[in-house]
Amino acid sequence: MIDSIEKVLDDLLNYDDILACMVARQNMISVMPSDGTNSFKPEVNQIWDILHRAMDDVFVVIREYSQAGLGEMEFRLQDCEALFYVFPDTENALVAIIPALANKGLIEIELENARRDILRIMEKKEQLTLS
């Protein structure tokens, strides 16, 4: 399952405007692209430490409200924007870092496609476990 999700994340990093992406939860990055942070674009590496800390704070809110239906969150930090797509009824989210002045909506559509792909992978794994 991890390999399949890695492939979805690797695919997202092919976009010029996706600087970094991962599946994460509070204090834990669950799945990274196959090449880890090495595949992140240089713009995000410069502010990765502060971004990572800010992301952890956002996950406190996600953890608190995901069961109540919290679906998406975002914040802007310096020249980057972090988008969180929460997987329903979990504390996990697909996180993507994009440039602050990117055409966000067009990128969001592909992030939504990635979120749907990851959900399908998770559901498949769940079905296999149950059977």
Partner: protein, 434 residues
Amino acid sequence: MKNNRCSNIEASIGFSRKWDALEAGREVAESAIRKLNQPPSFFLLFSTIHYRKNGGFNKFLKGVWDVLPEGTPLIGGTIAGFINNYGCYTRGATALAVSSSDLDVAVGIGKHTKINPSIAAKQCAMMIKNKLKDSRKNKLIINLISGPTIPDLPILGRVNVIKSNFYGWLATHLGIKLFSYFGNGMGKEEDIVDSLSNYFKDYYIIGGSSMDDYKQIFSYQFINKECHKNSVVALGCHLSFPIYLKSLIGMHETDKTFKITGSAYGGRLITSINDKPAKESILDILGITEEQYGDLSGFYYRTANYFPISFEENSNFTSGIAGFLGNSVALGYKIRGNNVKFLSITGAESLGVIDEAFKNEKNGYNYPFVLMSSSAMVLNSLGSEAYTMKEKLDNYIKDTPYLMICTVNENAKSPGKSGFARVYSFNVMAPKIS
């Protein structure tokens, strides 16, 4: 999705998400034609800009032609995104393949649209007119026009906001004319659609402008085996079937209005508003300061596109703020009156046009396929909510093959009427079969 074979016409949608241009070309063609019982009579091919860096568009077209039967009339180009029976995408390739013995088809191209849009439209129209027999009752033009591209300026780079009054003045009165000689600048789609409407008075027209991922740097058009820039491509089609076409704008008027008192470049740049410098007046009307955004790039990317304009003298035309050149305001398209009103759009309005287009339609007819052109800015503003749009389309169109292309400017026309090239519109076309 069914292979939609009804009466004597069948259609299918091709689709690929592969990154490699050659493989994507093969897959999009193969997935479209494998569902047809007869070779396609024409093939509409669209892709996002991503293949430019993943093999190039010549390889993409080579992949298509590895599969597509020789001689199939093909037009298309690059778009910001699309919605089809498979989903909503801002990366990938899609196609609409149509097969019927009850239609005649010809394709045309006009080059150098940025410098001389009317001549380009004439070239394109003549190619089609010379090839098409005047045989069938219903006539259709599907087109894709090279959209606006931001030029790479010496010193300044690729910008749509020039803060300096000196460089802004230079760009307004000299630069913008020069850009067009190098195939850059405004798309001038409105001139092309006006010309096409004159050449094809008794035709239905539907189309849009080719573009990239809204960075507005690249724009490609496809015709048969060739990939072009700075051109208009069109497909003329005479059909035995009646055609349903509707063009709608899903926006509301605001109470913000102004009077243009000075313009340049054929009305595509506003130099003064209410006898004051245009930029200052626009910001004042919208209640925005430059300091609020650091520079106006932030305003442009985050706000300006949500305030299109229309004209009291002709409310069928809409335009947008394309940038700031010193004290001038660049519009996407030329002014159609001096009394301007700001429009605004909500998510509900973006979706509402789909209800308006489809809710009372069909009335005993079937559609073999549905082709739509809509605004890439709507897709950009809806983001992941664009899937709501797809759900609505699925609800109305069901498993009939459908394709919505999202472009920077859309155009449509019904027989005997004027054509409109405008922003934020939703245009739908489908042949009707009883």
